[in-house]
């Protein structure tokens, strides 16, 4: 028995290693990136040291001023000021300009620096400037996570709410939740009749119907999103049909609306709801239904009391998968939605590709993961039977 377990361990180990290297370590990296605050320590080590010893009451001593004046110029010369400038500017606008201006003028500064720095820029004579630097001494900062929750850090670390005009992410998380819930509900509602039809058809017809589900399931999400882009245009076939049916007088705008996003997401995710529901319904013993009917149950009673409870685990498992996938959707809202239809994922991509703010991208990822974990936990509480359903068709 021990030999068998050793063999089992040897067999499982390679996959475990791969998972660790290409998944668990990256997830860990994200967790770290969301809170890491190394820029000041890396760029201006002496300033970092001086500020670590500062009590934050009055202005720091000459040692800190001298370190700033000395190190900023060198960092600029060696062209490694960028990350710190970005980090400080993220905490408060204008900091990048202050650091660069000081760095450029650093050569001309003379001791005592506690006098010459504020003479160059009065902000060096303000305690808040120094408190912001001290907030960046790390090694961890809550700043990115706070910002991802529309909160801010005042100089010195006190947590405040972001100004009305800068609030964004809570709305975004709520919107993501809302879209995911709508898509999940629609998907489960529409999946049930399809699964029922497929399960009750004779095999040959069921196979054909299943093909109609599997063909989109197997084609790339990008292909399908592009197709919807064509279909939903103002002069596309959907609008033509709407006008022909007299539902609207003139073509309506669909691209760039929430409707387009939900329709396309539903299209992408429906098979994930249909397949488990179909598997569950297929497994229901027909004799049981007949027995219930012969015992005098009305069709509706039989459907609600016998059939549905038996099919429920499959339907719920499908809904669960749809929700988890919907929460992370990026490309469909990006291509079909307007600015008010973007989900959290769009902003993760934005922070990585455009803003190059990895801290924010990581913080949003961590929160989204927490979001998914909460969904899993809720599903475990609410649908204990559902989790016994299968994941694959």
């Amino acid at each position: 028995m021990r030999g068998q377990n050793a063999l089992a361990a040897v067999l499982v180990a390679p996959l475990l290693l791969l998972l660790a290297a290409a998944f668990l370590v990256p997830l860990g990296t994200t967790l770290l990136t969301a809170v890491a605050d190394r820029e000041l320590a890396d760029t201006l080590p002496r300033t970092h040291h001086a500020l670590a010893a500062w009590d934050g009451e009055a202005l720091p001593g000459e040692e800190a001023f001298a370190a700033v004046a000395d190190e900023l110029g060198v960092a600029l010369e060696e062209r490694r000021l960028g990350p710190l400038a970005q980090r400080m500017n993220f905490a408060a606008g204008g900091q990048r300009a202050l650091l660069l201006r000081t760095a450029r003028a650093a050569d001309g500064l003379t001791a005592p620096y506690a006098v010459s720095l504020p003479a160059l820029d009065p902000r060096w004579g303000e305690r808040d400037t120094w408190l912001r630097l001290r907030d960046a001494t790390g090694p961890v900062t809550p700043l990115y996570l706070l910002r991802a929750l529309d909160l801010d850090q005042a100089p010195g670390g006190a947590v405040t709410r972001m100004g009305e005009e800068d609030r964004l992410f809570l709305t975004l998380f709520l919107r993501t939740l809302g879209v995911a819930v709508i898509v999940t509900l629609l998907a489960t509602l529409l999946a049930a009749p399809v699964a029922f039809l497929l399960a009750s058809l004779p095999p040959r017809w069921a196979g054909l119907g299943l093909l109609a589900v599997l063909v989109p399931f197997w084609s790339s999400i990008l292909v399908r999103t592009t197709a919807w882009f064509v279909l939903l245009q103002r002069e596309g076939p959907v609008n033509a049909t709407l006008v022909a049916l007299g539902l609207t007088e003139a073509p309506v705008q669909l691209i760039g609306t929430r409707i387009a996003v939900i329709v396309a997401m539903l299209h992408v995710l429906l098979p994930f709801a249909i397949l488990p529901a179909y598997a569950a319904m297929k497994g229901i013993d027909r004799a049981l239904i007949r027995a219930a009917a012969s015992l005098g149950g009305s069709p509706v009673q039989v459907a609600l009391r016998v059939y549905l409870p038996l099919a429920f685990p499959g339907i719920a498992a499908g809904g669960f998968i749809v929700f988890l996938l919907a929460v992370g959707f990026y490309i469909t809202p990006a291509l079909l939605g307007g600015p008010r239809d973007q989900l959290v994922a769009s902003f993760i991509a934005l922070f990585i590709n455009r803003e190059v703010n990895w801290g924010m991208a990581a913080a949003l990822s961590v929160l989204l993961m927490g979001f998914a974990a909460c969904a899993i936990a809720a599903a475990r509480l609410l649908l204990p039977a559902a989790l016994k359903g299968r994941l694959s068709p």
Partner: protein
């Protein structure tokens, strides 16, 4: 039965093919689309032939994230990149781009502002109001009129981003082009710009890719759009019935830059020297209405006469997009713009 050996052989071959290639070609990256196709035939390939250096080209969407990532990871796979001015200047300060070797690239051939620490002027670009005259006979000629939905009903398309859009909004609010950046630097000016955007919000659609304004106008999704003049004029040359309003032009330069840590840096400098020279650029002007930053081409009377739609002929009507302003205020205004868009 699975043919195990065959499977192993295929897998091994695939793994070998997947291994990073030891030497890669000098890689130049620009904004893609038809312009890049023409640059390939008139600039990149002639350089490869003249120098004997193998060149590969590829496109990106002007997002500097991947560039910063490759510099940080010390795994630089791009050599020469076409970059927007604010990204270039900021990236230069941050050590993302190499300093241009002005002993290889001749500095004196550029228009003023075309030769900066880390970049050599590539092309000028601009945005302006345009519309399809087959759908709308008349359209706005100023930004104030662009905001006038009573005279010109229909949807409008603007760029999804603070840059350009906020300038446009301020001009619609009556700020003279010369005062735009002074006003936009103040909180009151920013509030005015966002208030103007609020007023037009129900009629606005936003684009992010360069081809999208053309697609939106062609498909009738919007009546009027602010879009790139290069793509617009090219469509006009191949038959599109657009009206393009040069009075609404906002313009800037794009630059060629060398990614820091590029193993091909010396060759990259030689390439930049070649592709900013008048001779190959003149060839390019025959294929695409470019707006050269190389003085000899930009001032070539024959080129300008041949291309009435060339932006160079119209820049005096337009507003030069301020690089300094957007480096200083970009992060904050972009954040506020993103929040505004989502409200």
């Amino acid at each position: 039965m699975i043919p195990t050996r065959a499977l192993c052989a295929i897998g091994l071959a695939a793994m070998l093919a997947a291994a990073p290639a030891g030497a890669r070609d000098l890689t130049i990256v620009a904004g893609g689309g038809p312009l890049q196709d023409h640059m390939r035939s008139t600039l990149f390939q002639p350089f490869a032939r003249a120098s004997g250096i193998a060149v590969a080209d590829t496109s990106y969407d002007y997002n500097v994230g991947p560039i910063r990532a490759m510099v940080q990871a010390r795994n630089v796979t791009w050599d020469v990149v076409m970059v927007e001015a604010p990204d270039l200047v900021q990236g230069c300060e941050d050590g993302v781009f190499e300093r241009i070797d002005w002993s290889v690239v001749r500095r004196d051939k550029f228009l003023p502002g075309g030769a900066i620490t880390c970049g050599a002027g590539a092309i000028g670009w601009g945005v302006a109001v345009f519309y399809d005259t087959r759908r709308n006979a008349n359209g706005p000629t100023t930004y104030a009129e662009f905001w006038d939905t009573r005279t010109f009903p229909g949807k409008r398309a603007l760029r999804r981003g603070a840059r350009i859009t906020l300038e446009v909004a301020l001009m619609a609010d009556g700020v003279a082009p010369g005062d735009v950046y002074r006003v936009l630097a103040t909180p009151e000016g920013q509030a005015r710009a966002f208030a103007r955007l609020d007023a037009l919000r129900p009629e606005l659609m936003f684009w992010s890719g360069g081809q999208q304004p053309i697609e939106l106008v062609n498909a009738g999704e919007v009546a009027y759009a602010v879009g790139f003049v290069g793509r617009t004029t090219n469509a006009m040359r191949s038959g599109a019935a657009y009206a393009l309003k040069w009075e609404t032009l906002l313009y800037a330069y794009d630059y060629w830059a060398v990614v820091r840590g590029s193993p091909h840096a010396p060759a990259a400098m030689r390439m930049i020297e070649f592709i900013t020279d008048p001779a190959p650029l003149l060839e390019l002007t025959r294929l695409w209405p470019i707006n050269p930053v190389t003085a000899a081409v930009a001032n070539d009377v024959e080129v300008r006469a041949r291309n009435p739609l060339m932006m160079t002929n119209h820049v005096e009507k337009g507003l030069n997009i301020s690089t300094e302003f957007w480096i200083e205020h970009g992060p904050e205004l972009e954040r506020r713009f993103a929040a505004w868009l989502n409200r």
